[in-house]
């Protein structure tokens, strides 16, 4: 525990406290605006903080990271437009709550759970970094493949009513995710001879179109009145938090581990946690998808826990846990510091400074998250003639700023129109976004896993059974399949029949 005293540096230096506070505050708003992402904010800060000292630069970046991951839930709850991919799962129950007039409570709950989740993630970062990073190293392509297959099971959780419709949209999503340059050979796939499609379709563009623009169109069609919001009880009761504590901790653990895996981030963490909640919570406060508090608890604790997780491989191995830590590593390199095993040995104080920044950002997250909820709640009450144009402008702005590319705007509009018809005909849009998110992970890791066995499929199947992590994941998938589908009934019936005969 060398250098642990450096933990206090961010607390004792007033300028760092201010930088972190400013970072968290801006992060919440950047996160809340669809299309403005944490990744973008942190990369902008690289050139901004170029001439600064390293510590203030680090402080403001960690602050923005924390605030931004949380902020995405705001717009997901209020407008059904996730501000960031990590908030897709939050909107599933958050928006129905807003429609019931409980947006304030949903935001309050998302704040407390984010704070608990982040503390959990940071706790693991402090206590179990070497252990978790060993897991991250040994997580092979075949394991990522199985994990993403588990992710595909979410289609069931996210479907409303018709499973076939959910499967169709998920399939389209997976296909959209494959468009562009093949990551292995560099050849174009599904580009129809058009070189401009080589870059692929950015999944955030798909998300903004499907959730943002299509929601604006859909609001024009349905003539619902804005819901009057209850703003008396925004701080969730101790009872609500305590009764969900076990779920919060389980989802935080899922979030931390998925965040620590270099190939997956907060978006998948939140979705997996949501899936976990839906499978394990027998009596939710309301049915999932109709405003269950448990849905928010799961998603919000997991995505903020993933932050602590993402720092684990970054600090111990020098490998980024997600896209934001990848940029943070770049920022540190500019300042002459390269995270990794050597830094941990030679200057362990940097580890503790980052831990300190994370703890302090979390405290500010609670303060800023809880204040302003009443004003935010009013967003839902804004007349449609004002809010819809704002949503459209934000959707355009957001899709443009991802890559400063006008083509992305056209894609966003196309997906917005597609999403509008999907909503009219009752096809879920969230499964399509899920497909786009998972598609490259499934594709690359399956092919990588087969490459590792020299292209032999038999060897690949064998490798699924001969490695401990892989075998556990495989058994888990089999368990999920058997316990939650009709296979269970079939087996039980068979067993009963056998027993009767016997």
């Amino acid at each position: 525990m060398a250098g642990m005293s450096a933990l206090l540096i961010p607390f004792t230096d007033i300028s760092m406290v201010l930088y972190i506070a400013a970072g968290v505050f801006t992060g919440i708003y950047i996160g809340a605006i669809p299309g403005l992402s944490v990744t973008m904010a942190v990369s902008l800060l690289i050139s901004f903080t170029f001439s600064w000292n390293i510590l203030p630069a680090l402080a403001i970046m960690v602050g923005i990271y924390t605030g931004g991951v949380y902020g995405g839930s705001r717009s997901a709850i209020l407008l059904n437009i996730p501000g960031a991919p990590a908030a897709v799962a939050t909107g599933l129950d958050g928006y129905p709550l807003a429609k019931l007039g409980e947006a304030g409570r949903a935001m309050g709950l998302s704040t407390t759970q984010s704070v608990i989740g982040q503390f959990f993630g940071v706790g693991i970062l402090i206590a179990a970094s070497p252990l978790v990073s060993r897991l991250a190293i040994n997580f092979a392509p075949r394991d990522y493949f199985l994990l993403s297959i588990m992710g595909l099971f979410l289609v069931g959780s996210l479907s409303r009513g018709s499973l076939i419709k959910a499967l169709i949209t998920a399939f389209i999503g997976v296909t959209v995710g494959l468009v562009g340059m093949d990551p292995f050979t560099g050849q174009g796939r599904l580009i129809f001879g058009n070189a401009r499609l080589l870059g692929g379709i950015n999944f955030v563009v798909v998300m903004i179109g499907l959730f943002g623009l299509s929601e604006a169109f859909f609001q024009l069609k349905i003539r619902s009145k804005p819901v009057k919001q209850k703003i008396d009880k925004i701080i969730p009761s101790m009872k609500l938090i305590l009764s969900n504590l076990a779920l919060t901790l389980r989802c935080s653990a899922i979030g931390t581990i998925i965040g620590a895996l270099p190939g997956t981030g907060g978006d998948i963490a939140a979705l997996m946690a949501y899936d976990h909640a839906k499978r394990t919570v027998k009596k939710p406060s309301r049915p999932f998808g109709e405003g269950a508090f448990e849905g928010i608890v799961a998603a919000e604790s997991a995505n903020n826990a993933a932050i602590g997780g993402a720092f684990i491989p970054m600090m111990t191995l020098g490998i980024p846990g997600d896209s934001v830590t990848a940029i943070l590593i770049g920022a540190l390199i500019i300042h002459g510091i390269r995270p990794g095993p050597m830094l941990m040995k030679e200057q362990p104080e940097y580890f503790w400074i980052i831990v300190g920044c994370l703890i302090l950002s979390n405290i500010f997250l609670f303060i800023f998250g809880m204040s302003g909820i009443r004003i935010f709640s009013k967003v839902v009450e804004i007349p449609k003639s004002i809010i819809i144009p704002i949503i459209i402008v934000l959707s355009i702005l957001g899709s443009y700023t991802i890559n400063n590319n006008t083509v992305d705007i056209y894609w966003m509009i196309a997906f917005g129109i597609l999403g509008y018809f999907m909503k009219i005909y009752d096809y879920p849009v969230s499964t399509m976004v899920l497909g786009v998110i998972l598609s490259p992970i499934i594709d690359s890791n399956f092919r990588r896993a087969v490459q590792m066995t020299q292209g032999s499929f038999g060897g690949f199947v064998q490798s699924l059974f001969t490695n401990p992590i892989t075998l556990i994941l495989l058994l888990f998938i089999v368990f999920m399949l058997v316990s939650q589908t009709q296979a269970k009934c079939v087996i039980i019936n068979k067993l009963n029949a056998v027993r009767k005969q016997g």
Partner: protein, 343 residues
């Protein structure tokens, strides 16, 4: 009610159209002597935090001082940098849009990614030349490059080599070994240095090539063993690791122009006085102590070449590497088609 709705719809449509079409560029064409009369846009072809990004951003502050205007940097990623390259090519040749890219455009044609190459651009400066180091896990049976080559000869196509995709540096390394030693590996593709490091740590691959900067700390820490630096000269960051050209002299001609390089380019046809001004500015950025220190700390070889010298280096690189890819059977088009001479 319906009229109101119609009005809203019309306004919304107008809004969408205006905000989409409003992104055009101003038409004013500034005279050469007044350059730069406004800010300059710098397009980085790779993502934030990566090697191209860091190197580019470090060049800019000193260059801005010389030019007396700001350079607004933005990352435009995707398709091995060809999206950014195309974007800069689509702008006016007026020196207001700069391309910050690595060696990749020199292979776009043979890989079928884009009809463009650095022939369509003017080099402002090539800053650094980076090299790859061949590494194995510390528990690996391969103590030297000799061991690896011998085992690869005994088991062709059986050793798993981590690469970062066709055209990437580890891939080029495997081709150099294939051409020079007649050995083949089983390629396993990962997303770049970070994932390759993870895979090697987890022993999911037997060997890989990493940028020296990325590999140094793991070699010093004892996690990885470095077998050879893919270059003719040893690298200052890893002075004990032999150079490939040193232990395998017959590879020297192939290694003459190899590795990766970073540079700044403008579209061909940009007026010479503007190019001269940009050169002066970026040479200042290159000579800035902060940049020099960064390059040294990250095991990169300083180049600082411009004009004809830079063009010649890129030509040599293209000739050697494009033919290497073509002869390995991974090219979509023959280099001959684009008039790339055989080395």
């Amino acid at each position: 009610m319906t009229r109101k709705k119609l009005l809203v719809l019309v306004l919304l449509t107008a809004l969408v159209i205006v905000s989409v079409t409003g992104c055009g560029r101003p038409a004013a064409k500034p005279p050469e002597e007044a350059y730069p009369s406004k800010y300059i846009t710098g397009i980085i072809a790779w993502g934030a935090g990566g090697g191209t990004d860091t190197t580019s951003r470090l060049l800019v502050p000193a260059a801005e001082k010389v030019l007396g205007t700001s350079i607004v940097m933005s990352n435009r990623t995707g398709a091995t940098g060809s999206i950014a390259t195309q974007f800069v090519y689509d702008q006016r040749a007026d020196g207001y849009t700069l391309l910050f890219n690595a060696e990749n455009p020199q292979l776009y044609q043979v890989l079928g990614l884009s009809p463009l190459s650095y022939d369509d651009f003017e080099p402002i400066i090539l800053t650094v030349n980076g090299v790859t180091v061949i590494v194995v896990h510390k528990d690996s049976p391969y103590q030297t490059l000799e061991d690896l080559i011998n085992d690869a000869k005994a088991n062709p196509g059986k050793i798993n080599m981590g690469i970062s995709g066709v055209g990437g540096q580890p891939y080029m390394t495997s081709l150099i070994l294939r051409q020079g030693e007649g050995i083949t590996f089983n390629p396993v593709t990962f997303d770049g240095d970070g994932p390759l490091i993870t895979a090697l740590m987890g022993k999911q691959i037997d060997v890989t090539g990493l940028a020296v900067a990325a590999a140094v700390q793991y070699v010093k820490n004892g996690d990885f063993r470095a077998l050879a630096v893919v270059s003719n000269k040893r690298n200052d960051s890893l002075p004990d690791v032999p150079a490939l050209g040193e232990i395998r002299p017959h590879l020297q001609s192939l290694l003459r122009a190899s590795g990766f390089f970073y540079g700044v380019h403008v579209k061909k046809g940009t007026p010479e006085p503007i190019i001269a001004k940009l050169r002066e500015a970026f040479l200042a950025g290159y000579n800035d102590p902060q940049f020099q220190e960064y390059a040294r700390n990250n095991g990169m070889m300083l180049m600082g070449i411009t004009g004809e010298e830079a063009r010649q280096f890129m030509k040599d690189w293209q000739s050697a590497m494009a033919w290497l890819v073509y002869e390995a059977g991974d090219a979509k088009e023959s280099p001959e088609k684009f008039g790339i001479p055989k080395p």
